[in-house]
Each structure stands twice: as C-alpha cells, then as structure tokens.
Symmetry: C2
Subunit: 345 residues, 2 copies
C-alpha cells in the first residue's frame, strides 16, 4: 500500500495533488456537528469516545480532506491538573483557579495528567477504525496552556502571564517543565492509540517578543519535540509568529504551520526547505466570493511552487460563520489546481 | 540653535543620547491625567484645547522624554463623518452607525472632515507654546479607521471589514480613498498649526495577509504619504506587521515604527537602513522588575547598535497598569546607557 499523501508530504516526498485538511474542520460551522452538540455539552462530547470519533469522521467524509484531526480541545490536558477548567456556552474556556504566583505553581499536582484522559485515546482508536485517511492527534503547546492557566481564560495582553514570566522566572520555568512532561505523555499516548501524526498548537505565543520566546519558551519546545517518537510526523503550529519563525523552527517539528500573516514562500525560506510547511489561507477568505477564495488559494499554491512538502491548510481554525459548501469547494479547488499545475509531482 | 535630538534622529543624523518617547505617554497610567479625566469625559477633554495641551505637556515634564505627542485619539476624524462615534466609559470606542455595505459607503458625506476639528489645531498651538521638545501630531491610518467604522468598534477577527474588502472591493477602495483624503487634510492642518512630525497609527492592520495588504491597503498608504509635506518627518507605525514590514515601508514614512514582536535589528535590516526606526519594547516589560526592564531595554539599544536613526519607544501604547516611576526610570536608563555606550554619537 502506498503511503497516504498527507504523511508523504510531511516527509517532503512528492505527491500530487497537494494534500489539504483544516484546523477545526469538525466544528460549529458544520450542521452535523451542531446537531450532535445540541444534545451534549462540549466537555461531555469530548469525553464520549463514540461521539468524538463520529464527529471526527463525519468532517472528513463531508469535506473530502486528506487527513482527520481528532475532535478534542487544546486544553483537555488541564482538567486533571485541577485548575477548574470549564467551557462556558459562548465565551470559551474558563479556568476557575488560575495560577498566578510561584505558590500556585508549587501547588499544582505532580501527576501524569495524560493518564486521566482515557476517553481521548479510545476516541483515537474508534476513529481509526472508520477512517481511510491519516488521523492527527494534538495538544495545546506549553506556552498556550500556561497562558490559559495563568490568565484564567482568553486574554488580550497576557499581562498575568508576562508578569509571572518576568517577576518569577524560576516558577515560570517550573510550570513550563511540568506542562512539557504532560504534553509529551499525552501525545505519546495518542500515538500509541493510533494517531499517525501530532500537532502542537501554540495559538497565543505570538504575543511574545523574539527575545522572550528564546528565553522563556524555546528550551521547553526543544525538550518537548525531542521527547516524541522520531517516526511520527510532528506539526509545530503558532499564530502571530512572523517575527520569530526561525526560533519556532529551532523548537522542533517535522512540519511548521504558518498563519496567514506571512507570505508562504518567504516563510518557508526562513524556516528552511528541509522542513515541510503547512498553511496558510486566511480563514476569513472562506467568507469571500468563490472567485476571490480561489484566487487566494491559487496564490498560496503558486507560492509553494510545487515544492514537495506543502500541506494546504488555513492559517488558523475554520470560523463558525463559514459555509460547508465553500469549504468543500476549496478542497476540490486545491486538489484540481495543484494536480493540473503538476504541483508536487 | 541645534536641532532637537528627536527630529535629528528622524533624519538619521547622529545624536547622543538616543531620543525616547512613548505612545500613550499621556494616559490613564498617570495620576495627573486621571485627575483631569475625573472631571471631564474623554471626548470633552479632546475638545478642550487648553486641557488637551496641558495633558500633553504634563506628560513630557513628568517623564523627561524627547518628544511630545498631542493628546487626542486616533479616531477623532470619524466624528464629523457622522458614523456616531462615542467613547464608552471602559469599553473603548463605539460606532453607532457602522458602514457595512457599498450603500453605507455611498452615504458617507463627501466633506473635509478635518475642517470640523479646530480644537485639535488649537491644542497643537497651545501645547507648542509650553513645550521645549518637538510635538508629534497623529491620526489613525485609513485601514484602522475603516476597520472601526465597519466593525462598529474593536474586533477580534475583523470579519465585517474583510467581508467588505472581499465582497465589494470597489466600495472598499472608495472608503479607503475617502479616508486618505481626510487623513491628509487632518495631518496637514496639524502641521500648519505647529506639529513638527506626524505619526500614522495602523494599529489593526496586522490582521491582514501580506497579499491582502498589498492589494487593499498599500496603494492608499502610498497616496497618503505622498500627500504630506516633504519637510516634516512622518512615522509609519503598525502592530502585527512582522510578516510584511517591507510592504509597510513601501507605503511610506521617514520613520518606521515596529511593535515588539520582531527583533529590532532584523526589522531594521528588512526595512532598510535608509529609513529611521522607532521601537520596540514590549509595553508589558514596564510591569517587570527594574532589572529585567533594563535588560530588555539594553537588548534593544544593543540591537540598534548605535546606528543613527533609532528612536526608542514601546512597541505599542503604555498600559494603564504601568507605574509612572517605572517609565521615568526607563527614560533615564535609555539616555544613560545609550550615551555611555557612545551610541548614536
């Protein structure tokens, strides 16, 4: 059996057409998802392996994408840490007992939190049974997890996070080390259950200066990626990272995920052509007319220039306002255009 | 009389010490400002030339900075356009009649909105009388103004803005052209009243891809900067622009303002050494210990490497949580360190 195009592209092998999948491809924009969700809370859905697997697989079938991503949340790992994770109906995640100072870090349980999430691995196993494309497992990256724990939820300026970093660097590094241990364990367990690639989402790391990234994040990312099995492709994704792509790459990852605020060709060159690249259409482009959507997708494929190792994706997750038809049309366009142009082949 | 260090640095003349000022240096973090503000609404304060001038001058006297920036708001120009600008007590600006579609753009009055803001120019004249350092005038950039008008306030994803751009490009360009005309008129009037430099704040342009910036913003920025008098230094500032600094530079500006999410030396190299550079300390660094604050400031000064044309600033405005003493200490540090290191001299 030949290797799946997505996995081949991770290894920079020539494949045609260009493989494509989307962050948050199983989400609120999809009627099938909303139907399931109307009967179950968000955490309940994550904790029901059969439902999580169903949602994962449905998205692939509806869209015709080249990879599945497990239905779960980047923050699930925080629940066993006892910080009081809750998902409010509309306002996203809330952490009821935020970690603000060194004494809070001290109080965090030294446990293998990943061992408390058996339903995730069961969902991986179930989804694998029905899927004919590779399944991607994932976790939030340590910085992004830390920023949620410290802020107590989403944030604009990340001032509590930066204050901890700046005023108690030792506690900060302790917190990051603890999170790295847990993320490694979590991703390894997903891989053991059947995940064929894993993505690390550093969604909020773009609030940092390159100087702070180097000092407060990079060593931890290196340890994280070194702790993962070498035979499984890893995707290292961040947003707002145009100022320190080289450092993000130094952190690790078989594939570097770009957001839309950097030109794909420039970004790939800065990362180096010895890594695969994933991205990077603005999710808002899916709200445009089909002509403009295709023009933007074409630009990205042209910028990738048919070089092996490009995985088409958005620069962040699919927005809830998006129409499923538009996403399907994009998948077809990416396949047709890249194949016709002899891209990746 | 020798030229003021700030103006000399704008022209990349060697000066020592490195000049420094701060975005939002007259603002909520300052007790003197809060005292004035407790008796007057925000718009009322902007509309009272004597108070606006007082607040402008007080900040300079308290901090010992090398330039004043007029107390005003980046959105003042929107008021005469009849979109219903209001400042809510805590939630920032609200636009009660947002511009969403082509017909809304059509309805905007074709007036010289800048002619309706005499109090701004009067504040410039009054502030100049008391200042011994140069006074910077400013405006929001057309994209940032447009995003406020279209969204109706702040935004996370700028979906209304992008939808207008994508679905009605002609109306978008019409809106941008109208805003460019008004910004030119507004900045010219500030200069005529005595502003010795002007800064254009493109605070939210970082939500765009380089591709969209080139298509939907760049031509307008070129026309804007070409419409300003050549003898007055212009500062072109944006945040989240690490992915398209070269395009921002192509838009114009004697000085390019960097946010903190790009390394100053790399940013300057990309912009080109034939422009001056302003920045770029993370505003959150002012919440750190003094040691760490100074270490971060030192890194920036070292990265500038004593090259003529560096103006020290934050990467965005001073945060309300900041202590005035900390800001003063930073001014002294920048002056002492850059002078001792023989920087810029």
């Amino acid at each position: 059996m030949t290797e799946a195009p997505f996995l081949a592209a991770c290894q920079r092998l020539p494949v045609s057409p260009t493989p494509v999948w989307f962050m948050r491809q199983a989400g609120r924009y999809m009627p099938e998802y909303r139907r399931v969700r109307s009967r179950h809370g968000f955490l309940e859905l994550c904790r029901s392996p059969d439902l999580a697997a169903e949602v994962t697989v449905t998205a692939v079938e509806r869209l015709g994408v080249d990879a599945a991503i497990l239905f779960a949340d980047i923050l699930l790992l925080l629940e066993p840490l006892g910080v009081g994770l809750e998902y409010s109906r509309n306002d996203g995640p809330v952490i009821h007992r935020p970690v603000r100072g060194p004494e809070d870090v001290e109080r965090l349980p030294r446990i293998d939190a990943a061992a408390e999430l058996p339903y995730v691995y069961e969902a991986v196993r179930l989804a694998r049974k029905s899927l004919r494309v590779p399944l991607i497992g994932f976790s939030g990256a340590p910085f992004t997890l830390a920023s949620y724990i410290v802020e107590g939820g989403g944030s604009r300026h990340y001032l509590h996070t930066k204050t901890l970093m700046y005023q108690a660097p030792q506690a900060w590094h302790q917190l990051m080390a603890l999170l790295v241990d847990n993320v490694i364990s979590y991703l390894r367990r997903q891989i053991e259950a059947g995940a064929q690639a894993v993505q690390v989402f550093d969604s909020w790391v773009g609030c940092l200066s390159p100087h702070d990234y180097r000092q407060f994040v990079l060593p931890h990312m290196k340890r994280l990626f070194q702790g993962l099995p070498a035979h499984v492709p890893t995707i290292h994704f961040g947003t707002g990272t145009a100022g320190f792509l080289e450092l993000l790459r130094d952190g690790g990852g078989t594939v570097i995920g770009l957001d839309w605020r950097v030109d794909l060709a420039e970004g790939w060159q800065r990362v180096g052509f010895d890594r695969a690249i994933q991205g990077n259409l603005d999710p808002a482009a899916l709200l445009a007319s089909r002509d403009l959507l295709f023009e933007q997708a074409r630009t990205i494929l042209d910028r990738a220039g048919g070089r092996p190792g490009h995985i088409f994706n958005l620069g962040h997750g699919i927005l809830p306002q998006t129409s499923v038809d538009q996403v399907r049309a994009l998948v077809d366009f990416v396949h047709d255009y890249s194949q016709a142009a002899g891209k990746n082949g």
